[in-house]
């Protein structure tokens, strides 16, 4: 276990990120709930890498096409989570201020997810029982 402190910091980061997202939706001068669609991308983002780690667990090879495909898809999901609020703002569905808040929330959430993988992901004895 890498530590309770890391877990608490990561959960704080997640709460702050979601707070920014909700501020971007719920502030009275914005009051548009379209940005909640980025939650879909938040949930989708860890999935490719987790699937790749379960499918191919050869720790000998330093290059691994399945993991690289997973990283490619994950990057795409992250880019989409940033692109969607910008397209919403350009289409004038939401204000640019709300867009800025949502993008800030995105940054914090994805930093949290990355931190989760860095802190809790690298297990040398990666066993199936952990899942």
């Amino acid at each position: 276990m890498a530590g309770i402190k890391a877990l608490i910091s990561l959960s704080f980061g997640g709460a702050v990120g979601l707070m920014f997202l909700m501020l971007g939706c719920a502030l009275p001068q914005y009051n548009q709930y379209w940005p909640l669609f980025v939650l879909f991308f938040y949930i989708l983002s860890p999935i490719p890498y987790c699937i790749a780690r379960r499918l191919v667990d050869d720790t000998d090879a330093t290059s691994n096409a399945c993991k690289e495909l997973a990283i490619f898809l994950t990057t795409g999901i992250v880019v989409s989570a940033f692109g969607l609020p910008i397209v919403f703002a350009r289409a004038e569905l939401i204000y640019w201020g709300a867009c800025a808040l949502v993008l800030t929330g995105n940054t914090v959430i994805f930093a949290t997810i990355l931190g989760f993988f860095l802190v809790f992901g690298s297990n040398d004895d990666f066993s199936w029982q952990q899942w």
Binding site: A2, G3, K5, A6, S9, D60, A61, T62, S63, N64, A65, E68, L69, I71, F72, L73, T74, T75, G76, V79, S80, G83, I86, V87, R90, A91, V119
Partner: protein, 157 residues
């Protein structure tokens, strides 16, 4: 909080040579998906057919297909020194890669044609969709190149 920062001291435990494949995958992902979001943005801003003819989307679709074809075969299969032959063999892999690259170059050239022939020459008031088509295909093309050639297949370095 005293032990927290010690686990963050990681700048000397990252071997950037080893991370080349990861960096190439991330860069390719950013390029490819930014291209698609540019065209989504143009399609949202200009829904009318006079501003943005919907058939111009075919260019990006062919570019994406070319990206998938190019990256479906590994360099080892084309050179003939991979462990498994694949279902096409070495010659089949070469033809597949050839067709993939032809489609990639073709879609890039077509996007330039669309920009200049469809927007610049006709002196349309709204040029942004033409620029968006060009940048979409350019980004997808370079994303494909980075994903194909930015990664190394040397398993032991």
């Amino acid at each position: 909080m005293s032990g927290f920062l010690e686990s963050l001291r990681c700048s000397e435990c990252v071997d950037w040579g080893e991370k080349r494949n990861t960096i190439a995958s991330v860069a390719a992902g950013v390029l490819f998906f930014t291209g698609w979001w540019i065209i989504i943005d143009a399609a949202v801003k200009y829904p009318e057919v006079e501003d943005f003819n919907h058939s111009y989307h075919a260019c990006g679709v062919i570019a994406t297909l070319a990206f998938l074809m190019i990256n479906a075969v590994s360099n080892g299969q084309v050179r003939g020194d991979s462990y498994s032959e694949g279902c096409l063999g070495q010659t089949g892999a070469r033809i597949w890669l050839f067709i993939g690259f032809m489609m990639a170059f073709g879609s890039l050239i077509a996007s330039m044609w669309i920009l200049f022939g469809g927007y610049v020459v006709k002196e349309k008031a709204v040029v942004y969709p033409g620029i968006a088509v060009f940048f979409q295909n350019a980004f997808i093309f370079f994303g494909g190149l980075v994903f194909k050639f930015g990664r190394t297949e040397d398993l032991w370095q």
